[in-house]
Structures are given as C-alpha cells and as structure tokens.
C-alpha cells in the first residue's frame, strides 16, 4: 500500500528532513512511526498525503507513483486517505454532523447516503448523540473522535494519523488507539506517527523508528 524507495526530502532552507528512506507498508497492515521531534515523522506523513513532494526517490501509494500525480488528480487521491491531526483540524463554525459529512459532500454523495454514512461513522466513534453540537462544546478526546469519524466516513483504504493522541491523557489515548485497531481489523491500512512509546508498546504492532531523517529499525510483527 505504501512504498518508499530511496526517498529523500530536503526543505528549501537546506536541512534534510528525510534521507534515503526505504519503507514498505503492506495493504491491511498497521504500523507506528516513532522518533523525536524533528526526526522526520511528519515529513514522511506529508509525503504520503502529498502535502509535500519528495526531493529524490519514489513514493508509491497503492501502486501509484506520487511523482505522476498532478495538481488536478491530487484531490481524488486524497479521498482515499483519512488524515488525522494532533490539533483535529475541525471546522468550528459547523456542527459535528456537518464536519463529518464534509468528505462525502466533496465526493458528491446524495444527502440520504451522507446521512446514513455520517451516522454510521459517528456511531462507530461513540458520538452519535453529539451530532448537532459544535466542536468547541466537546472535550479534546471527543473532538479527536470527530476528526477520526471524518477520516473514516469515506471508507478510505488508508488512515494516516500525526500524533493523534498528543493532546490527550493516557486513558483517552488508549481509546483512540483501540479505534484505530478496530479499523485496521476490517482491512484498513493504518500508519500512525507518535512518540507515546509506552502506549504503543502495549499494542503489538510494527514500529518504525526514525532518527535524524533516517529509518533506524523496522520491526516486523
């Protein structure tokens, strides 16, 4: 599903965020991406989500070389990914329902289908009763679950998460991770960047460790 082949990323300032990274995540696999701040975790995720493009090397997602994805086809590729951020990236002037519905509206689903799928996604993250509320009225953990519902509502093949538990306490963090595990169980490929080592050590999944832009350990599960 995700294949990094000798990928380097150098930012205009001159510092090399990733150097010669080789990495393969199979379809249906789940992995954690760890490393210190500035080790290149976010850059690696950004390359997958096409927020940044690799300076050298090839990033291949689902058989598609990202070098060949133009500005115009990029949105359609992103619809196959659910992306989750540390700061949730919700729209605060819209209700929970409208937030979660956004990817479906973008993809042009009928309003009946939108309603069905949003309810299913909100049910999955346990927030169905909050659908009419605005995100600010929810706790951090709940807001993160809204963003997860938004990420999965379109049934993406791939879930990417950048420090999804960074702002949450340990109990909530475990809940969130359980959610990701559940999605992985139905076949979704999941890649999560985190530095919460104690948490992921409980979870028995592959861990990919980055340091100074280089891939150090690849623990196959």
């Amino acid at each position: 599903m995700i294949l990094f082949d000798q990928v380097s990323k150098r930012y205009p300032g001159g510092n090399e965020a990733l150097s010669h990274v080789n990495f393969h995540l199979h379809q249906g696999e789940m992995a954690f991406l760890t490393g210190h701040s500035g080790a290149g975790k976010s850059t690696l995720l950004k390359l997958i989500a096409l927020i940044e493009r690799a300076t050298t090397g090839n990033v291949i997602i689902g058989g598609k070389n990202l070098h060949k994805v133009s500005r115009h086809t990029l949105p359609y590729l992103r619809r196959n990914m659910g992306i989750i951020f540390q700061d949730y990236q919700l729209l605060y002037d819209r209700t929970v329902f409208d937030n979660v519905a956004l990817p479906l509206i973008i993809s042009g689903f009928s309003s009946r289908e939108v309603k069905k799928r949003v309810h299913a996604a909100l049910d999955k993250v346990g927030l169905l009763r909050h659908e009419k509320k605005y995100p600010v009225t929810l706790s951090g953990g709940e807001q993160q679950r809204v963003s997860i519902a938004r990420a999965v509502v379109n049934k993406p093949a791939l879930l990417l998460a950048d420090e999804p538990t960074g702002n949450l306490d340990p109990d909530l963090s475990l809940e969130i991770m359980d959610l990701f595990m559940a999605f992985n169980q139905v076949g979704v490929t999941v890649l999560i960047a985190t530095h919460d080592i104690p948490l992921i050590n409980q979870l028995d999944k592959r861990i990919v460790h980055l340091e100074h832009g280089q891939l150090l350990t690849v623990e196959e599960d």
Binding site: Q27, I83, I106, G187
Partner: protein
C-alpha cells in the same frame, strides 16, 4: 494483499482517481443548488457588511444606469425629435385641394415617411388671425396669402441625418412643391451632442464596471482570507479546486445581484424625485408629456441585472483564481 477476502478488499483498495463521467449529472445540479443557497446563507450571517458591499456596488452601477435612462429618454423626448425632423412642404399657390390630397396619399406610401399632415391654407389663416395679433390687418387682405402646407414626418427607420438629407432632396423635386424647410443643422448638432453623451456614458459605465469588478474581487479576497483554515481542511480531505471555488463564485454572483437591485432602486427613486420638477417644466411648454421620464424600463433593468451578476461572478473568479493556489496545507 492476496490474503484479503474479496468483500474486504473492495472496501480498502484505492478507488479510481477520477469519478466516472456518466455518474453524477443530476447530483451536479443538486450540488450547485446547494452551494447557491449555502453561499446566500453565508452572506446572511453578516447582513451589515453584505449590505455595505452591495450598497457600494449599487451606487457604482446606479450612476451609468441612471445616465443611460436619461439619455434614452432624451432621444425620444415624446415626439419632439419628430418635430425637429419634420419637414414643411409649402405648396405652390395654384395647387388644388384635390391635388394636395393625392400628393398626401402618395407621400404616405413612401417607406421613408411615417406620416403626412395637411394644414389647409384657410384653416392656417384663421389660426394666424386668432393668434398672431395681426388679425385686423389680415382681414383687410383680399386673398389668402398662405399656401397649403404639408408636414412630413420621416419614419423612425429613416431618422439618420444623411437619410433626412436624401428625403429632403427627393421632396424638393416634387412639381407641386414650392419650398421645403428643415433646420438640418440644428438636427445634426443635436445628434452630435447625443453621440458625445452616449460615448461619455459608455466610458463612465466601463470605468464603473471595472470598479464593480475590483470591489467584488476585494470582498472575495477578504472572504478567502477569513476562511483560510477551512480551505486548508477542504484541500486535505480531497476537495477539488472547483469545489472550493464554487461558493466564492456564487458569493460574487449574489453581490452582483444585490448590487444591481439596489442600483435599480436608486435610479427609480431618483427618477421619482425629479419627476415633479420635470412635470412643472413641461407644463411651461404647454406639453405635460414633454419631459416625462417615467421609471426604468424592464429591458434596461434586466440588462443591468444580468450584467451585474456576470460582473460579480467574474470579479470573484479573478480573486479566487489568484488566491486559492496560494493556500495549501503545510
């Protein structure tokens, strides 16, 4: 990859990069309709600033529209251009009334001529006696010195100065006619003045259309700036540029619509305000219809409405094209 059951696989595999063309034709309209009202809803959330922008647009549009209405009326100052164009055919003294009737019928059939009016020499003398103040002196005359008079009104399709000249020459050749009179110079000057006024209004209109573009472009630019984070999120979850662009384009359209409605209101209010003084002026000319402006015609209003909406859309399009590319997730 190989070990997945087929049902799971269909769920988790990458979908095609572009939706099939055949798929959402109906949904295309539904979505446009949604955005249509969604953008209206966004504007109604900030009614005051929406009104301010629309008022600025309205004033910018009202000026050329109002001038156009006035000029349009000036061109057809009820019947008075006709009276300027009208030609007086003074008949030879020995022409009989029957001959004049025949000539009148003949001229009426000419395509260049809208109408021919006969002023009988006897009636003319009577009127002259009553109104001129020379009544007693005229009564002393044995014969009526006045000739028969035919007044020729050129048809509207032959109203250009050159065509009038042509007609004039033709009429002079008629054997029954003694003299043809038309103050062509006065006519030509008036046309020249109206032509300049038309050009002036065109220039003012073009400049103010540019102003409308800039006002809307700037408003949309601010709207984009205000919704920067929203645009980033939209892009992250796979919204196409056209999807993100659409509400802004409709916003521009709404501004154009509201602006033109305000302009129509302003122009009509102004017309109403000057209608009384105009009526007074007309009454001084013994012709209550002479300078009546009425209200803005339906055609003019519709033209203003449509062009304003197009300008709004264009202004938004310009702003969005420039600024949307700059906003990318980081």
């Amino acid at each position: 990859m190989a070990g997945q059951s087929s049902s799971t696989e269909s769920q988790v595999q990458l979908r095609q990069l572009r939706p099939s063309f055949s798929s959402h034709f109906k949904e295309f309209f539904v979505r446009h309709l949604q955005v249509f009202f969604y953008s209206l809803g966004l504007l109604s959330r900030t009614p005051f600033s929406t009104l301010l922008t629309a008022a600025a647009l309205g004033i910018a549009l009202a000026l050329p529209a109002g001038l156009y209405v006035i000029l349009d009326h000036a061109k057809q100052l009820s019947g008075d251009f006709d009276s300027i164009n009208q030609m007086s055919l003074f008949m030879k003294q020995d022409i009989s009334t029957q001959a004049i009737d025949r000539l009148q019928k003949k001229l009426n059939a000419w395509p260049e001529i809208a109408q021919v009016k006969h002023i009988d020499r006897a009636a003319a003398l009577k009127e002259f006696q009553e109104n001129s103040g020379f009544g007693d002196a005229l009564k002393a005359l044995k014969d009526n010195p006045l000739p028969h008079l035919l007044i020729v009104y050129p048809s509207l399709t032959h109203n250009e100065a050159e065509q009038i000249n042509h007609l004039l020459a033709d009429l002079k050749k008629l054997p029954e006619v003694n003299l043809v009179q038309l103050d062509i110079q006065w006519l030509q000057r008036l046309y020249a003045i109206i032509h300049i006024a038309q050009r002036g209004i065109f220039i003012i209109g073009a400049l103010l259309a540019l102003a409308v573009l800039l006002i809307i472009g700037n408003t949309i630019r601010l709207a984009i700036e205000n919704r920067r984070s929203e645009i980033v999120v939209m892009k992250l979850i796979g919204a196409t540029d056209s999807f993100i662009r659409r509400p802004f384009l409709y916003t521009g359209f709404w501004y154009g619509l509201f602006g033109s409605l305000i302009a129509i209101l302003l122009v009509n209010l102004s017309l109403l305000m000057i209608s009384n003084p105009l009526a007074h002026l007309s009454s001084l000319y013994n012709n209550s219809e002479l300078f009546s402006l009425g209200l803005m015609g339906i055609n003019t209003s519709l033209t203003l409405l449509v062009s304003s909406c197009v300008l709004g859309w264009l202004g938004a399009r310009m702003a969005v094209g420039r600024h949307l590319k700059e906003i990318e997730p980081k």
